[in-house]
Symmetry: none
Subunit: 225 residues, 2 copies
Amino acid sequence: MRILIVEDDSRLLLQLDQYMQSQGFSVDLADDGEKALYQLQEYDYDLAIIDVGLPSIDGFEVVQRARAMDISCPIIILTARDRWQEKVKGLECGADDYLTKPFVHEELLARVKALIRRSAGQASPIVQKGPLSLDTSANQLYVNEQAVELTAYEYKVIEYLMMNPNKVVSKTEMVEHIYDQDFDLDSNVIEVFVGRLRRKIDKDNIIKPIETLRGRGYRLNVNLQ
Amino acid sequence: MRILIVEDDSRLLLQLDQYMQSQGFSVDLADDGEKALYQLQEYDYDLAIIDVGLPSIDGFEVVQRARAMDISCPIIILTARDRWQEKVKGLECGADDYLTKPFVHEELLARVKALIRRSAGQASPIVQKGPLSLDTSANQLYVNEQAVELTAYEYKVIEYLMMNPNKVVSKTEMVEHIYDQDFDLDSNVIEVFVGRLRRKIDKDNIIKPIETLRGRGYRLNVNLQ
DNA sequence: CTTCGACTATCAAAATTCGCATGGGTGACT
DNA sequence: AGTCACCCATGCGAATTTTGATAGTCGAAG
């Protein structure tokens, strides 16, 4: 985890540097807004800690300009003032958290950890199987990074197959997972959808991701490289 | 945005309920840990505010158990105590933020917004998506830098879509985040609001930002240049 | 190796479901 | 009383799903 600390009081700066390093972080330092913005642009930090009371460009502005430059790492601002308006202003500038000086180091650490934890848990859950990938939160299938538009049931079918790769899935099983309760089992819906999926996924029939196992069902074939 | 407030002091609870509602949130309430956990399990909140001083199951435990159940919504804990150990403990239990009582409502609001923003992967309070930009602190939508006046619900709909760009969002999901519990799910409100938004956002139908995915929901389309 | 029967693929029409526009009604607020 | 936002019911049009018929393929048995 690499973090940036921006603080003009050199005593505090070094103290924080030492503490965060002792906690296993890689720490970069800056002592004014100019340098801070440069560093933020240059490196991809996991988090930044910024004092609002900086000479020339103040902390609020650093945050604002960083956000305008599309820098999205979590930011904690440090404020010496106890007026809630300042804190609100900080958050509205685009900071994620603030801490009022003086503070104990443990509290800073706890907040840093909480923010990093949260910003890590944002990736959308994507299931990758060979050339196929499924973004289950966006309900979107990609074949070789190309988005493929599916209808509601087509999506349900491929989703179920992707959840059970390299496994023979019977048509009964699929029907039971895709439709809620009583559905006419001797219908060829699944065959129809598998057919449509095959055409959409791979027109030229080069990938052959869905294999038919006569009398048993289907299997999503994945080359586990 | 739908939030849960857990607090045993009924006076404060109602006060917060009223305030957060006035700020455009859909609010559910709970006055003990038992109910809170049930609610958290049952609904998909965008955020929870939990007092640590609850009878029977205390706030720390609620957070801990919620996280153990894989509930990942942002959580702010309220603590009456000013001892930093308590705050650190809260964050270590899995909370994302804390606020020390007494606090001014504006400060709570700023933190709530900051957390929701971050959990949507949005660092800045201004969300830019193609020709659309949304100022979440002013509750104002702009289309090509032009302000567009929206009603309360129209705003909630576009906000939720902007927080989930390029993602298929089902109508159920939208209803659940926009209204608080007990709302008739099979109603066509969402369709009506989407229709009105489309007309307001782009009269001439050139931008087509909101795409319909039959049987699945809607998707805010953003050209990721 | 061939044949037969069962299983699967494909197609297009039919049936169904879904989404949208519209207008009326209700309740809140002025 | 008037305005405004919102909710609800309706009916049309369109996209999707289902059906049923037909053609094709596979594999086991002879």
